[in-house]
């Protein structure tokens, strides 16, 4: 054999191996195509960056959004080029409804329910021939539990003040009003002629109008948090409505010392040497009583009952929510508190406690619904080509017994209607209707005004509305938040909504 043939023969092996290697490489590509075309396809085809979605949003009429009476909150309009854009009923609904803009994306419900509103019905995999059909899009109309009139009234009530109002029906969890101030005009963002300027201005505005404070704002609660402490105290059995503390009257003058830290009661008139129980302590918003109750309840139980109402996790809700917390956590004491001092402070709402207005509304709703918390929701129905799908009320948790809730109701009613209590909650009472509630003055430290809070419900015997009002740096609870709450609850009860 010549070396020529011998050498040539040994080329065959490596060639085959190269062929195999290249085939494997191409097989990898085949797998990749399958991955993008099948596995990731449903997610990608609904993403707002997808060209088909963007194109559809300009030509396929997006679903409308209606309030509970059928009033149109969001609808479509054609611009000069024949492309569609969104039009909204007013700036009051912007924190809830948001906006849908081809350039600036989506916010609020427009974002959360984007797939339904733009009509991306169907799963590309399960229905591979759908795209061969002539009408692949089925936009849905959304019906909300919101009342446009109530929403507007709440926005007007806040006026120029920064803050939030949350109103819901405690029996079903339906949200009737969700207002944040400052708000913005979504129409300016979606109208093609004003969009760019308006959005730039909104981003540059230092008061952050795009931030929905009702759901994403976290604030020091102040005395409204005492209701949570009461819930935990009664629910865990650490205290009863009749529990009194012998050291409490003395501490009114000298302060309560906890581990070297002195807790003062600054805001209530002398109750003398009377030892207070639940009702009395709630009526005058007694920090001492609540600190002692908090210590008696213990960190574990306090956080546990708080969690039942939605603390320490995003709330299950149609819109994104911030997490409310009882403590910053990381402490060695039970429940994650650093020590008893932090627990005592948290018990009257001044520790490392941060809450969203929506969360506090849920606390009120818990008491109003006899200890059961219903899941908050905005969307009650979706209507498409194939009919309407309704979304009914859902129970979120059993927090405490009806008896305990009743005891707290009595205390909260006293806080609004009692002679002493009424001084803290001026204006909160609905004329002619038993009203329950709690005001709060959240000290922020430093020299600024405190936040003004109020949570409550009416009628106290058979509540149909629960409310939470926050006015940022509004002063004492009675000054700002309480009158707004009273006004709105009065208006709601007069409206007699369906």
């Amino acid at each position: 054999m010549s070396s020529l043939t011998g050498a040539r023969r040994s080329l065959g092996g490596p060639i085959v191996r190269v062929a195999v290697a290249l085939s494997l490489a191409f097989a990898t590509l085949a797998i990749a195509v399958g991955y993008w075309g099948v596995v990731r396809a449903p997610e990608l085809t609904r993403s707002p960056y997808d060209a088909a979605v963007i194109a559809a949003s300009r030509s396929v009429p997006r679903g409308r959004i209606l309030d509970r009476t059928g009033k149109v909150l969001a609808r479509n309009k054609k611009d000069a080029n024949g492309e569609l854009y969104r039009v909204y009923a007013g700036p009051a609904i912007s924190p809830v409804v948001g906006y849908a803009s081809p350039r600036y994306g989506r916010a609020g419900l427009e974002r959360a329910y984007d797939a339904e509103l733009s009509g991306l019905a169907g799963d590309p995999l399960r229905d591979p021939f759908r795209k061969f059909g002539s009408d692949p899009y089925d936009p849905k109309d959304l019906t909300l539990s919101l009342s446009f009139d109530l929403q507007r009234a709440a926005a007007r009530a806040l006026g120029d003040q920064r803050g939030a109002v949350v109103m819901l029906d405690p029996r079903t969890g339906e949200i009737l009003a969700l207002v944040s101030n400052p708000s913005f005009d979504a129409n300016a963002v979606t109208d093609p002629t004003t969009a760019q300027k308006a959005f730039k201005a909104l981003l540059a505005d230092p008061s952050e109008p795009l931030l929905p404070r009702a759901t994403l704002g976290r604030y020091v609660p102040g005395s409204v948090f005492k209701i949570v402490t009461a819930i935990a105290g009664l629910g865990s059995g650490a205290v009863t409505p009749k529990t009194t503390y012998p050291e409490q009257p003395g501490a009114e003058k000298d302060g309560l010392v906890v581990d070297g830290y002195t807790i003062h009661d600054g805001h209530h008139p002398e109750t003398g040497s009377r030892a207070l129980g639940l009702v009395g302590a709630t009526e005058v918003s007694c920090n001492i009583w609540y600190s002692l109750t908090g210590l008696a309840t213990g960190g574990d139980a306090l956080t546990e009952y708080a969690r039942r109402m939605g603390f320490d996790a995003p709330l299950p809700f149609d819109l994104p929510t911030a997490v409310s917390q009882v403590t910053g956590g990381g402490g060695a004491a039970p429940g994650g508190f650093q020590d008893d001092v932090e627990l005592a402070n948290a018990a009257y709402g001044q520790g490392e406690t941060f809450v969203t207005p929506l969360q506090m509304a849920l606390v009120a709703a818990t008491i109003a619904d006899h200890g059961t918390l219903m899941k908050p929701h905005l969307v009650t129905a979706m209507t498409g080509d194939n009919g309407t799908r309704t979304l009914g009320p859902e129970r979120m948790a059993n927090v405490i017994s009806a008896a305990d809730a009743q005891a707290i109701t009595v205390a909260m009613q006293q806080a609004v209607e009692g002679k002493l209590g009424g001084q803290f909650t001026t204006g909160a009472k609905v004329p002619g209707v038993p009203t329950a509630g709690k005001s709060g003055t959240a000290e922020l430290g430093g020299t600024g005004e405190p936040h003004s809070w109020f949570i409550g419900f009416a009628p106290a015997d058979a509540p149909t509305i629960a409310i939470a009002v926050l006015v940022e740096k509004g002063g004492r609870g009675a000054e700002a938040a309480a009158p707004i709450a009273g006004d709105l609850m009065t208006r709601y009860l007069k409206m007699d909504l369906p």
């Binding site: 054999m1 010549s2 020529l4 043939t5 021939f129 061969f132 059909g133 002539s134």
Partner: protein
Amino acid sequence: MDGLLLVLWVARLLFLLLLYVFLYRVVRTLLRDLRAAAREPTATLGRLVVVASPGSEPPAGHVFALQAITTLGRDVNNSIVVDDPFASTEHAVLTSRDGTWYIEDLGSTNGSHVNGQAVNGVATIGFGDELQIGQVRFRLERPRV
């Protein structure tokens, strides 16, 4: 779905189908080709070893696998190209019939020789015999089993 849509639907699927028909036929040809190549070595009826070759084509020592009909000559279209100035363009044909090998001279200028003897028209050639075309000498050998 109206008629046009249906036809369009059919056309789209048909296009994809035809791509695969094409691929299928190609792959079938490939496999047939590979199988034939793999089978070749055992189908030889004989081997022609180049004993002596003053030029470069065919190289000395090279072994050709023989099929039933093998042409020899200077033209590039021959099965065995003998690039020798004393070989004609179409010099001779080696044929195997019923197990016997025949060499036929195609009217070449310098003739074909088996074991030194000139070939007149057709002659038999056996295993181990030497064939001379021009200045190139071959030896016919059995196929390797």
